[in-house]
Symmetry: C2
Amino acid sequence: MKDFVYKCTGCDKTYPGPGPLYRCKQCGEPLEVVFEGDKTISQNGLSDQTMIERYSSFYPFDKTATELSLGEGFTPLVKSRKNADKYGVGWVYFKNESANPTWSFKDRGSITGVMHALETRYKAIGTVSTGNMAASVAAYGARAGIETFILVKNNLPEEKINPIAVYGAKVIKVNGDYGQLYYDSLEAGRELGIYFINSDSPFRVEGSKTIAFEIFEQMGMEVPDHVIVPTSAGGNIRGIFKGFRELKDTGFADRIPTIICAQAEGCSPIAEAWKKDKRKIERIENPETIAHAIENPFPPSGNEVLRMLKSPGGFCVSLSDEEILEAQKDLAGEGIFVQPASATTLAAIQKLQKDSYWTGSEKIVSILTGSGLKYTSVFKKMNLQTYSCNLKELKEQLKEMQN
Amino acid sequence: MKDFVYKCTGCDKTYPGPGPLYRCKQCGEPLEVVFEGDKTISQNGLSDQTMIERYSSFYPFDKTATELSLGEGFTPLVKSRKNADKYGVGWVYFKNESANPTWSFKDRGSITGVMHALETRYKAIGTVSTGNMAASVAAYGARAGIETFILVKNNLPEEKINPIAVYGAKVIKVNGDYGQLYYDSLEAGRELGIYFINSDSPFRVEGSKTIAFEIFEQMGMEVPDHVIVPTSAGGNIRGIFKGFRELKDTGFADRIPTIICAQAEGCSPIAEAWKKDKRKIERIENPETIAHAIENPFPPSGNEVLRMLKSPGGFCVSLSDEEILEAQKDLAGEGIFVQPASATTLAAIQKLQKDSYWTGSEKIVSILTGSGLKYTSVFKKMNLQTYSCNLKELKEQLKEMQN
């Protein structure tokens, strides 16, 4: 690997690379990667290269690891005139991360995490997750041909475990406090030589930077006014922030967007702390929301997200399950079926309209983090209507139903 | 629309456009679109444009309909050294169509179908499908804001209907012969002004052409030696054939690949007719396979697929459920989780190795038609293993399991 350092997001203390480090030994806050090097953006078309090839100058990797790529990234940025008009803003764009190889944004951080593991000569990787990240790490571990451990909650139902286990990873159901498992896995990994690529680990955050790079390119080298990010552990929003910051630092962009952290009311530790103007998040005792993908009661990067929202700038919005469900249906009604967590972004646009926040010309990007196929239990709450008829009566039935 | 004609794939009789036509009035065989015009391939990067913008010169549309795009196409072409070595061929490539907006190849034909409907001033669209196509047409109908009817089998379970109904289409369960429904829907649609974009309708076949165009571009303007296509109604394989033929006809390519039609043994009307050297397919009476997406007992484009396989060239392979399941697991073991129908392609590569068909240098493209998340009932047959432990014993458990 090229030279880089880890810097604490809390106290700025630095630690040398290249091996995996996660949190500051001094203040306990998460670390991030600082890589100094000449950064360029390719003049090639987006898909002539893999995602990592295209943005390689933003990373300290020696190799571009084309053989690890499953075609992650380069997801669609879908323009919505309908929602822009409905909410009285300039443009709404949906960054549809469900078009990734395992159908969520996690693939971006999984490939950078696995690349770091391989360049620092690890023989095994792992993660702690119950959903998108577990499937993603299992897939990239399989692609790399490296031993892969996936630690999940003890009570995770079969229907959630199967789409993870299918990739051939070693899936372990761990009985005990799930929040503690994040920290214990890092500890065990350090001793046993297993690189745990958990939610907000520095090299996973590095992967999420590419969301910012792609938005910038897809908008014609322009920075949107607002970017709304469903937020759980805090790794993805940190990566998106960092991506825009690097575009500004390197002179490609002249500013960074206002970033909006979207959480579910039933589990909003960051939004709660933001509202009370606190510097530290507090654990949510009984989280409950349909947006399971962002149901993290004590986000390990929560404090750093609070710091980022103060400077360079942004704020929090929390949404009720009703608002989320409504937004999920609205998105499907425009052809995009996402998981409930992703729908918080459109719900936030609506809520901010009610609060008269929008001025009328904003360009807003919603990050749609994952596919609706991953959380089908939500259908029970939707009351979807169907009709029926006999084949002989088809014509009459259609005629009767026509507008 | 620009001028184009429909030509019968069976008897070459032509019919003028622009309205929707499906089958020859003379011989009953499916029609295809013939559009004469100067064709170009853009020098822009793949994702600087929508799929239809990029390949617009291959279509008679007046508009590029950017506002209809959900980001379809431009799916990854994933190289597999592992499978190439395992089966003794030059390269195996996976064209991963699950990275489309509704997670299957159907989105390509849905956008071209909806564009045709709009340019010929239809106010309503529909389709007959129980899976991928239903969700896709519902999504693009929603995106276009056009009335959309989805006709499904009467006994389709809720879990299959919900991901279709979520897009807000009018879903009708039709009690009666499902094969007949294909024809009756076209008839009813003609009378009522509903454009049924069914499986092998000419403008859906037009969408599948882009799979060939993209493969050609992603391989550096090179034609692969073999392309393997899971085949049901026959629309997709026809489109891929047509795409390569148009690349050759326009002088971009100097040849077309050998196309392999992959079917499941439990429902292989085309492969059966091929084996017996017949010119017409016969209906399969009791189809049964885990590859539900290609379980069509009487494919409406079956005879045309037989004609195409004779000239310009190709052949059929049929695979057992065991072979399909094994290949599905092998694909997941490389990080790509597909539905069983898609796994027929890798199973075919294996089967052809057993038959000593490969010579050692072939470049083979497998078309992976849709996401594994769509057919989760197959997990029951997989016997996926998991482990469990208490949090306190995590380190010991990991140590014990390490390679």
